[in-house]
């Protein structure tokens, strides 16, 4: 109901405007209302661009993430190496830019896998609530009892050698995506389930059923679309936390393996040179921080926008 009304209102205000103007207008409105969310969105766009076309961000020939130069190792920031060089003389800025790809793939990959899984499990579990639900709640109990990072280290160690390289995604990155996703999906399917349980009792579901709609149709056409906003909000927060988890795993040496640059592993490598080259410890961490911060800010703004009940509470 609310959405229909909103569409009406929006149509009344800006329906006459051509598409691009309407788009500009709503973007400006979003920026004005959620300035921090807009800053977050801006960084997210920059990060995605870095992941897609890293060459654009590293114009100089010194800036090659894998090119070693032993003569200029552990140097501080300079004109040719904007953020200095690491212990093998590789350019830190280039490694950070190319590392964005790793983080973005893991962040979005986790969201796609985890949210598909948790929506499917939660919907079926909540809608049927029969033996499937009973069995699944016990499985979910197991998932909820797993000791987070401790289990993830194990899962990634076991999975990584067994994964294939899919397209441009390395097997170890795939292992991280899978492990983090399953763990998250199992836990977040609870929220989806509880919402699905209440949606099942809605009148429009009864109406659909009395019109002869199949269970499959009711779930895909009536329940899942109504779950969209809660899934979207938790998705944007999940990007941040999976980027954090990846960097923690890589920092411990269990995550992304060479040669793909990873911010977490860069920080691990920096540990040996803390006194000689502190710049190595600063910038990769700053990027992790900015990435997580941006996705969280965007998630907060989206939550406020999509869920009017929470507006202004956080």
């Amino acid at each position: 109901m609310a959405t229909a009304q909103q569409t009406l209102e929006r149509g009344a205000v800006s329906g006459a405007l051509p598409f691009h103007q309407r788009w500009t207008k709503s973007t400006l409105k979003f920026i004005k209302r959620y300035p921090l969310g807009a800053v977050g969105a801006f960084f997210v766009i920059v990060l995605v661009a870095m992941a897609a076309v890293p060459q654009v961000f590293t114009p100089m020939e010194t800036q090659d993430p894998l090119k070693q130069s032993i003569l200029t190792r552990l140097e501080g920031p300079s004109a040719s190496n904007w953020l200095g060089t690491d212990d093998l003389g590789r350019d830190v800025w280039a490694r950070i830019v190319y590392g964005a790809r790793t983080s973005i793939i893991i962040g979005f990959g986790t969201v796609i896998v985890a949210k598909t899984l948790s929506t499917a499990i939660g919907t079926v579990s909540g809608y049927y609530s029969g033996w499937f639900d009973t069995v699944f709640q016990r499985v979910i109990d197991i998932g909820a009892a797993l000791p987070g990072l401790v289990f993830l280290i194990l899962a990634v160690t076991v999975l990584a050698p067994r994964m294939p390289d899919v397209l441009f995604i390395q097997s170890d990155i795939l292992a991280i995506i899978l492990a983090v996703s399953v763990l998250n999906a199992v836990n977040s399917s609870r929220t989806v389930r509880s919402v699905a349980l209440s949606l099942r009792e809605e009148q429009y579901v009864d109406a659909a059923r009395s019109l002869g709609a199949t269970n499959m149709r009711i779930m895909t056409k009536h329940i899942v679309p109504n779950l969209f906003s809660i899934v979207l909000v938790s998705a944007s927060l999940l990007v941040g936390s999976s980027v954090l988890l990846e960097s923690s795993l890589s920092f411990l040496g269990y995550g992304v393996q060479p040669p793909s640059p990873s911010w977490g592993r860069m920080l691990n490598e920096a540990r040996e040179f803390l006194t000689r080259a502190p710049h190595l410890a600063i910038f990769p961490g700053l990027l992790i921080f900015l990435t997580v911060w941006s996705f969280n800010m965007l998630g907060d703004a989206l939550r406020d926008k999509l869920d009017p009940r929470l507006r202004g509470s956080n």
């Binding site: 009892a145 000791p147 401790v150 280290i153 194990l154 941040g240 920092f251 997580v292």
Partner: protein, 317 residues
């Protein structure tokens, strides 16, 4: 209530069986085995020796049989023998558990001591400069990886304030409390602070919600002092949702201690786990995962019980 408690405790058994079985099977599906690390090149040279070691560790049997045997040992609270040191896992873990528990408790106390008061003040003075600063801090703490903060502290504090990681080795709390605290306080602060952002935000949201309630208005109109209204009327109710987050924070502390212990060379369970998984010291990995799961399961139960204790409207049956 009693019935509920018994039901929950009984349900823990299949859950923990599930966790341990999962870990057990995963460990045994890993490529390579403990002999690769123990024997090095000799393993390839002498398959008989390798077989003898596998037999010695009971790794030559079928996985389900190994699992049942292991369960039998666990039932007698015997975690087995470390493949690497040859000592019993119980003794290996005992001293390390003390260290990690101390770190975890300190982190939890710091976490709450930072998170709850800032959250309350933020809510009571909504949209003031303090609120804005507090929220910025909370968001920053959520986004900054704890190992990055630790590295920055080590580099920056060492460079500008002549303060570094104590060069002495770790001393137990009961041997020399002061030296021990000098060693553990910074790691505990990092571990505690990095999770306190969540608590701050939760406390603030919960307080804001409660402060709008009718009974708070009644309390104000009775002319009660702000402190009484905030602490006695609002806080007690606002803490209910916060308790759940504390429960969620327990696994985060366990995970965080793996990282922090490895950075600060603290001889706790986390660091031991870290090296054991490298060496495929299966009994240790299994024991730590089981202990972790037990802590998480009991933390969840404690949260639910605290929930009903704090909110009399919730009664389990």
């Amino acid at each position: 209530m009693q019935k509920y408690l018994i039901r929950r405790l009984v349900l823990m058994i299949p859950t923990l069986l599930g966790v341990t079985f999962l870990v057990f099977v995963m460990l045994r599906s890993m490529p390579g085995d403990v002999t690769t690390n123990l024997l090095g090149d000799y393993g390839a040279a002498s398959p008989e020796l390798r077989q003898a070691i596998l037999k010695d560790f009971g790794l030559d049997e079928a996985v389900p049989i190994q699992y049942v045997k292991w369960l039998g040992d666990i039932a007698r609270l015997d975690f087995g023998t470390s493949f690497f040191s040859g000592r019993s896992v119980n003794t290996e873990l005992q001293s390390r558990l003390v260290v990690t528990t101390q770190l975890g408790v300190m982190a939890l106390v710091i976490n709450l001591a930072l998170g709850i008061p800032i959250g309350i003040l933020s809510a009571v003075r909504q949209n003031s400069w303090f609120d804005n600063a507090g929220r910025t801090l909370a968001i920053s703490l959520l986004a900054a990886p704890n190992f990055w903060i630790a590295l920055l502290l080590i580099t920056m504090a060492g460079r500008y304030f002549k303060w570094g990681v104590p060069s002495t080795s770790y001393v137990g709390f009961f041997d020399d409390p002061i030296r021990n605290l000098k060693f553990t306080i910074v790691p505990a602060i990092i571990l505690g602070a990095s999770g306190s952002g969540t608590i701050m935000r939760f406390t603030r949201t919960a307080m804001l919600e409660v402060m709008r309630q009718d009974y708070i208005r009644t309390a104000w109109s009775k002319g009660l002092r702000e402190r009484v209204v905030v602490v006695r009327h609002a806080l007690r109710n606002a803490l209910i949702p916060v308790v759940t987050v504390i429960g969620l924070f327990i696994p985060a502390i366990i995970g965080g201690s793996v990282i922090i212990e490895s950075i600060y060379s603290i001889p706790g369970v986390g660091r031991y786990y870290f090296s054991s998984i490298r060496q495929l010291d299966l009994p240790v990995v299994q024991a730590v995962n089981l202990l972790g799961a037990v802590v998480v399961v009991f933390a969840n139960l404690a949260v639910d019980l605290a929930y009903s204790f704090l909110n009399p409207r919730i009664r389990y049956s």
